[in-house]
Structures are given as structure tokens and as C-alpha cells.
Amino acid sequence: MASDESAPRSNPVSPAPARSAPTQPEAPPPNPERRGALRQIAALAAGAAAFVALPLLRPRRALAQEDAPSPAPGGTRKPRWGMAIDLDRCTACQGCVVACKTENNVPIAGADQTERGRGIFWMDMLQTEEGEYPDLKGQFIPTPCNHCDNAPCVKVCPVGATYINEEGIVAQMWARCIGCRFCTTACPYTRRYFNWQAPDWSEAARHTLNPNVATRPKGVVEKCTFCHHRIRQARETARAEGRAMTDADVRRLPACAQACPADAITFGDLNDPESELSQLAKSPRAVRLQEELGTHPKVIYLREAKWQE
């Protein structure tokens, strides 16, 4: 609508030309003003939309960022923690199960409740059987959380209480969990546990609780954390000694790996091609549980033959 002369000068973004051209009273038609008003409305709308949308877009990784990981062994790359469990070495002594319970303040449900399926075992011993007696084959499989890269539990959580942190650990915020148990049903490995009742610590147990791990209230879901508090400690120790954390620092870091008398459990960084874990992951013996589901577990089992055909 503007005249030919004012057209090239008029900036569609600012109404300034209207003031700088007083000699042409006809030149600034009501358009710039209207455009200005429209722009204001648009800005207001955009602001309102942003105000509404921002909380939705807010990253859900506040806790992960607090962690502020130092450079991983081998460079500035973030680690991607994983675990290898050698079933050909495992003697099914359940040392890992007990060590995990003690380390992580996992409540003792008691014989009765455990019988009813209320026991909590971040590290559990899964028993499989094949065939009929006398042609019976058994296999014990220590099962921590698989810390899937494509975790079905994380996808379904309505409040972001479970998330994959920057180091690949599927973490759980028990202060956020509303106890809907959608994650526990979505997990194809059933590796998540619910607190059916408040933990009942005996007076003796109260004194031996691990101060590095928070206890959980009733009504929330809990799970294996790959002993992330130990990872943090190892990182801080390395930093205090003025060096980077090495594979040797983490090789037997989690409580289960530390307790294993057969040295069957190896912990490490899957992003570090030099780590022992990465080497083991390449082994022809390496399998993952239910790989066909596309969950990409980071717990790798080593075994000569597959246990289920």
C-alpha cells in the first residue's frame, strides 16, 4: 500500500520510517501502525505460548546435570556404563545379591512377604530350567537392571521419575515417583521393584545402613542404579589425585562386581573401545537378554551356548 518511493525504505520490521518521513503525510498509511499492533499481538501470543510451552520443554535431567561428570577415561567423551556377566564363571553363590542388598539399603521383606512376591532384589538370581528330570538342565543368571539404551520403562513414566542419565544409567527419582507402577509392568525383564510397605529396619540394621544411599519410602518404585554413588566416589578420588578415572578404577566398582568371588562381573565404559568391557562385548560368547525386543540392554552375558533355543 505504501508509495513507490517509501517502499524500498520502509522497513517491514520497524515502524521507524513513518517518523523519518514527515514530508510525505500520505506515505505512512495505517498499515505500519496496524502491523505494529499485529506484531505486538503476535509477540504477546508467542510470549504466552512460550510461557505455556517452556515447562513442557524443560529438560528432565536436573539430577544428571548436578552430577557434572568429569572427563571419562580416554578423553572428554561421556562414559556409557555397562556390565558383563560371565555365566561360565558364575557359581550362583548369590554373593552379588547379598552385597547389593547391603550396599543399597534394600529393605528386607521377610520370608512371608518374599514368598508372596514382595521381596526387593536389585540384583536377583534368575533360575531357568530346561527339560524334564532326569534330562534336566539348569542355569542361574544374575540379573541386575539392564539399563537399556531404549528403555521401555522410561517411555511410560508419567512424571519423569525415571530417566536415562547422561552416562546411560536408567535412574529413578524416588522423591518424584507417584507409584503408578506403569514402569514395572512395562519392563520386559521385570527388573523394577515396588515398595509394598514402609521398610522395617531393625535397630541393628539401622546402624549399618549405607549413608551414601538414600532409603526409600513406601509406595515408590526402586531399582538397580549401577551403584552410581560409587562411580561418583571413584571420580572424586581420581580428581583428588589429579588424574583421570581409569578402567582399573571402575572394573569392579559396583557392589555386586566387588563381591563376586569368581570374578564373573565386569563393569566398565562401553564408549571406551579400550575398556575390558568393550573387549568382552565383542566376544562371540556375548549375548543380551531378549535382544529381539529392541531395548538395547547394556548388561552383556557371556556364555558358550545359548540357554534357550
Binding site: G117, T190, Q197, G219
Partner: protein
Amino acid sequence: MAGVNDFSFSIKPILDPIGKGGRGFYLAAAGLLMVMAVGVYAYVQQFVHGLGTTGMNRPVYWGVYMANFVFFIGISHAGTLISAILRVANAEWRRPVTRCAEVITVFALIFGALSVIIDLGRPDRLLFVIQHGRLQSPILWDVCCISTYLTGSLIYLYLPLIPDCAILRDRKIGWVWLYTLLALGYQGTQRQKHRLEFWISVMAILIIPIAISVHTVVAYIYATTLQPGWHSTIFGPYFVVGAIFSGLAGLMIAMAIIRKAFHLEGILKDIHFNNLALILLVMTALMIYFTFNIYLVEITGNEPSIMASVMEKVTGEFALPFWGMIVGGFLVPLVILSFPKGRTVTGCVVASVLILVSMWIERFLIVVPTLIHPRLPWPTGIYNPTWVEWSVTAGCLAAFALLYMLFARVFPIVSIWEVQEGVDVAIPEINKRFEGYMPDVPDEAGSAAFPWEGMPPHGRGEREP
């Protein structure tokens, strides 16, 4: 004012129960209150001591409460959806049925949502769903859809209630202040009537996709997981069909009770039961078709993890409820409703009770056998619901019934003005419509051959803009 208070049929049986209750009412209310008290006590136990008071465990993380959730949401589809479809389709016989259907929706939805809250380990953190909600989670889809549906069906219940509140206000029956408030100054002028009808038809159309979305996303809670037997593309439509199926059964039972208790035999007539029974018959056939589809495909696929839960239903621990559901809940009602003699009030009630019980079992059999056979660990789970779960369930059902009873004592359970409108407007309108269906008549044939040509034009054309 004219027209609001003049009726060509007896509205006495509809207005009689308003504002007062007989001995039967108080006895029933006392009984229901007692059941509710037990339910509340059970929930307090659960709240204090945790979900350990229920029979749930690992791996059966969900049980009776989730079955109740799907069941109540299903019942809620009776009302608004049926009423909306009948309104949109101009089914004239709907008029006395719509109100008692729409009330079911509102109350059933409340208890559906409540069932999930009861199932939460930390109900005190309920608002985290809004504060920290993740839209990627199917639970958030449910929160959105159910709250939209509840709002929509409240509006859809309220709009046709306005003229009836005006009638109660003008006749000074019951709580006049309440009806004056709710009637919003409705006087029945052409302008008000036109506006009201416009918004009722807008809501009727809007509510249909909302209702379908609700039960679809309820199904998504199951279908979006990797669990054997749940991870199925048919689950959304299957749940919607099951919802309308169980909802209709619930509606017929409610109608039969209302008819008996309020002596409404002259308004809720046999023909209404017959027509609803025909819809129910179609839904029964659809339900059988869907169930057949699911089990045939699962069994021929023969995937071990899925077969574990399927065989648990077909021959295992749940064989009795499963076959009871198939035969008692699907096949027997199919036979009863297929014959005109079965589509009487008694026949409808028998079929509806069978269907309602079976549909609760159906929901239970979706939740539990799959969880008993998770992909891992291989040993199977056990699930025995405790008294807490049964008491809370009974309490919810009792509270639902009590709210429904109270509603019928506060508001007319049959939409008076709509029934009257059927007399005033519908007959000429139907004649007009009927005329439109007939083949065009050449002029020389004359109007005498078609008696409907002489009928007065219908009311809508005469209305002021």
C-alpha cells in the same frame, strides 16, 4: 412462559420423587452407605500400611483396581456416547432415555478416575502428573482425555437439564433456589430454545470423538507396553467396543430399576428396551467377533510368551471365568437378545447382568494372566486379591449407585421438555422427513395420492432466527 408448563403427557411420576424419598429409598441408601463405609475403612488401611495390604506383588503389579478402572470407564460410555449418537441420528425414541444415560457417564467416569488414584502408591503426589507431566506417557493421554470427557459430558448433561430446572422452578418443587440458579433464567422463548438446541447439537457431535478417544487411550496403557497379549493393534477399538457393550448393559439395568421404582412404565416403554436391546445385540456380535479375532491370531501365532497367558485362560487357572465369560457373557446374551421374546424388560435385565459381570471378568482377564506370565522371570506369579481390594471395589460400586439414586431425587431422571418436544415438534418433523424419502411425484399425479403432503410444516422452519 407459555409452553414450559403445559404437557400432553403425565409428568407426575417424573416429578413425584423429586425432593423426597420413600422407605425403599432410605433403606437402599443406608445399605449403600454401609458398604461405602467398609470401602473407606479398607482404603484407609491401604493408605496407612501401603499397597502391601492388597494381593498385588511382583510380577502382578496391577490387579483388581486396574480392572475396575477399565470397567468404570467402559460403563461411562453408555451414556453420553449412546445419547449423542441417537441425537445425531435423530432417533426419536431416544427422548426418555438420554438423561438417565448421561448421568451414568458422569458418575462412572468419576469412579474410573478414582480407581487409578486408589491404585497409586503415592496418592499424595497425584498433582505431580500436572506439575511434572510427560506428554509421552500414555497415562498423561488418559489424564487429558478423561478430564476432557468429564468436562464435556458434564456440559452435555447440564444443557438439556436447563429447561427441566425451569419447570421445577416454576412449579416450586424441591429445592427451588437450586433450580432457579441452574435454570439461568430460562423462560422457553424461541430464541433461548434455538440457542439451547444449537449448543446441544454441537456438544452431541463433539462428545462422540472425545468418548472414542477416551477408551482408546485407556487401551493404549496396555497396548503401548511390550507385554505379551497387550501389545496389540486391535486393543484400542476392542476396548471401545467393549465399553459401549458393557455401558449399554449398565444403562438397561439402570432403566429397568428406574422404571420399576418410579412407576415410569408409561414413559420408559417396552419399545425403548427393545430398541436398546437391538443395539446391544449388535455390540454382542461385535464383541464376539473381536474376541475371536484376538484369540485366533494369538493362538495361530504360537509365540511362547503370548501362549503362556493365552493358555492360562483357555485351559489353565482362569479357564472357568474365561469360558464363563464367553458362554455366559457373550453367547447366552446373543441368544436372548436375538429373539423378540428375549427383548422384554426381564430378558434385557438378565442379559445385561450377565454382560456386566462378564465384562468385569474380561477386564480382569486382560490385566492379570499377562502379568502372571511376564517375559522374564520365567517362574509364574500368583495373584489373590485381598479383602481390601474387594471392599474398595464394593465401596466404589455402592457410591456410584448412591450418587445415581440421589441424582434421580434431585433432578428429573427423564428429560421432560425433550419428551414434550417429541410430541410437539417431532411428529410433523418425521412426516416432513418421511416425505423427503419418497420418490418425487409428477405434478399431475396430484397431492391426493400422498396423504402426508397435507400435513402442517414442521416446527423448525417457523422458528425465529
